[in-house]
Symmetry: C2
Subunit: 410 residues, 2 copies
């Protein structure tokens, strides 16, 4: 039947985001998003896990929530309780863990429970773009706090809170990414964590601790989670399997006291997070999590080395950055004359996608010459070639770098 | 570390739903919700499907959206395009199908795009409780329209629209469940569908056609979907794998013209629906969907027969109902003196859960003596024993039925 167009326009809700554009595949140089290394995907382990868990418990798929209730598959919560105790120092029961459809759903539930339009959230002045955009869409007022090599700065946090207090505002929470901060890669040390916990406790402000990247470390030791360092119960911990296992599996989690978790659970009206993904993850992780993450981190470290080398080769001193000790991204500052949003448009024509700084920054002007380069998904060849091409585009469009490959360009 | 309670209460957003209660397992007689028959869960087929699809495409899990883009796994959309054409008469491209995390996410996205607080939705006066509750929470004004053995009544729909028009209200859409209406089990015939489409077209109102149960039929033929009967593009079709395969797999779908689907997609900020569930479903359904659903329907039909027999035996003429030709639920009317919400509380103490009518009705008073009994999950023994026990509770609490098992009770 040939179609005549029904006009939905007069019926649309006001202030919608722009319509999605049709998907046309990934760019050749995909330096954007939380994609991971394809070759390291533990395919065989996932196949074995699927067979073993479905053989044992497959019939439970016939009931919503399996036999585990709305918090999520009990096997996965049991794995997490052990893992979080061992690796992050967190002591929690399985009833204090809520499995979510990706960590973003966790953030949405926190906002549904705590944040009304106009409420204030404190966060690092450079932070996860997906958090900035969804908090903004939720109607929150975002206040950026300065960060340094160890992440969120206590003095700046105290000052921001005092400033808000003087204006009669009590922030709803502090959103922080202490381990492998997104995008800076900063790792917050124990003393800094304690200082920030003290400030939050003093002002009775909750902390949302987003630890999505904390498994991807090549330092000897992961610092204790902030959640593990306080008995106050004001820390809501958010984690994910997207980075440690695979991003297309949409499984994250929230760890929090029942007093607040029960409010979030009441807002989780999706009839449960995908059960097969939860079951397969639990079965796989119970046996292979540490080994897999160890292998993955070696690959990531190697790719970061390649990226750093390529940036040095093609951008020289024009690209400034701290080399992170974990994660999947590098936060790069180009000379102030560079507008990375304009650069992103030009780069896309050359098949290169990256995150321009303003999308990852509260202060868009501060973010303007900055960009985030994700290095987990591209091959080493693509990393080298992509950076070389980006340097050419950047030179052509912005006059930076002045020299490419140690050869002065006209 | 022992816990001191942080007081979240002053920070909570106003008008939250009550806190969730701790899960304590399913009731002994679980006549509630969309659970399915556990023994029919196609465990072996799912294991084979997982192995085969992961072997072939497992490495794509490393990228968000696999290699399929944000509409969902292309293999599943291809299966659906063929299935919907064959069984529902719908002609659509894979770009007009959006895979969602359960059909409820589809409903949420429709509301995010079309419905602002105070906007009006027309729907059958008895309808899916999960739709009633989420539309209400979204701030919509729900107008119930009378239904009969064929579902939504065209005359009543026309009258409701005129009445709204007289008050300056253009409804945002008509929500209807034409095939195995939830909860009445009504199946709308082709002429009725055409009549309702004509009314909607005449008033330029979209239709949301929820076909979550339309695979579960024991009539010779599934009527063509309303979506297939118009070229106007005003029908948004919603479907699910929850009822045909397994409810714990959270995979639904929306079929709509790109003009409105692209707006919904822009609001889908969950970074994709669980990929493993999509991949395994596509692989399984491509080979086994029709066979599996055929087997399942035989089991469901048998369980319905048992339920109907048990109701006849224990409630006699006190329980009035139409025997549906498909689905997983029976909509029962008890004598007007019965308050099914009170009955539900008493029944729960005896281990019986059912959906009291007011939760499945726009007019709560009309719903008061009615209830929905889901029959897919309980065993035949549990169906018989549960109905017998319910009759005892109902007799004790409400004096209905007057006689049990053809024996007059004191």
């Amino acid at each position: 039947m040939s179609r005549t167009a029904f006009d939905f326009a007069p019926l649309l809700r006001p202030n919608l985001p722009p319509a999605a554009v049709r998907y046309s595949g990934f760019p050749a140089f995909n330096f954007v998003g939380g994609h991971n290394d394809a070759a390291t995907t533990p395919v065989d382990g996932l196949i074995d896990a699927a067979a073993s868990v479905l053989m044992r418990e497959g019939a439970t798929l016939a009931t919503y929530g399996l036999n585990s209730g709305p918090l999520g598959y009990i096997g996965l919560r049991q794995f997490l309780a052990k893992k979080l105790h061992r690796q992050a120092g967190i002591t929690c029961s399985t009833d204090e863990i809520l499995i979510t459809s990706g960590s973003n759903q966790g953030l949405d539930l926190i906002n549904q429970v705590l944040v009304a339009p106009g409420d204030t959230i404190l966060m690092e002045q450079a932070s996860y773009g997906g958090a900035i955009s969804r908090f903004t869409r939720h109607g929150a007022n975002l206040v950026g706090v300065a960060l340094d090599k160890e992440g969120l700065q206590p003095d700046a946090l105290e000052a921001a809170i005092s400033n808000l207090k003087a204006n009669g505002v009590r922030p709803k929470y502090i959103y922080t990414i202490p381990t492998v901060q997104n995008p800076t890669g900063a790792i917050m040390g124990p003393q800094r964590r304690a200082d920030i916990l003290a400030i939050a406790a003093n002002h009775a402000i909750p902390i949302v601790e987003d630890e999505c990247y904390s498994d991807l470390l090549w330092t000897p030791e992961r610092p204790k989670a902030m959640k593990a360092m306080t008995a106050l119960g004001n820390v809501i911990f958010v984690g994910s399997f997207s980075k440690s296992i695979a991003p297309a599996l949409r499984v994250g989690y929230v760890v929090a006291d029942w007093s607040i978790l029960s409010r979030m659970l009441a807002c989780k009206t999706d009839a449960g997070t995908g059960a097969l993904e939860q079951m397969v993850l639990a079965e796989f992780c119970e046996k292979h999590f540490d080994t897999h993450v160890g292998t993955l981190n070696k690959v990531l470290k190697r790719k970061l080395d390649v990226l750093v080398e390529a940036l040095g080769e093609h951008f020289g001193t024009a690209a400034e950055f701290e080399v992170p000790k974990g994660g999947i991204f590098l936060w790069v500052k180009l000379p102030d004359c560079v507008d990375t949003q304009k650069l992103a448009q030009a780069a896309l024509k050359a098949g290169i996608a990256f995150n321009p700084g303003p999308e990852w920054a509260i202060d868009k002007q501060w973010g303007r010459p900055r960009l985030r380069i994700c290095f987990a998904n591209p091959t080493e060849t693509a990393l080298r070639k992509g950076v070389a091409t980006l340097a050419e585009v950047c030179h052509r469009e912005m006059g930076v770098p002045a020299r490419i490959g140690n050869v002065a360009l006209s």
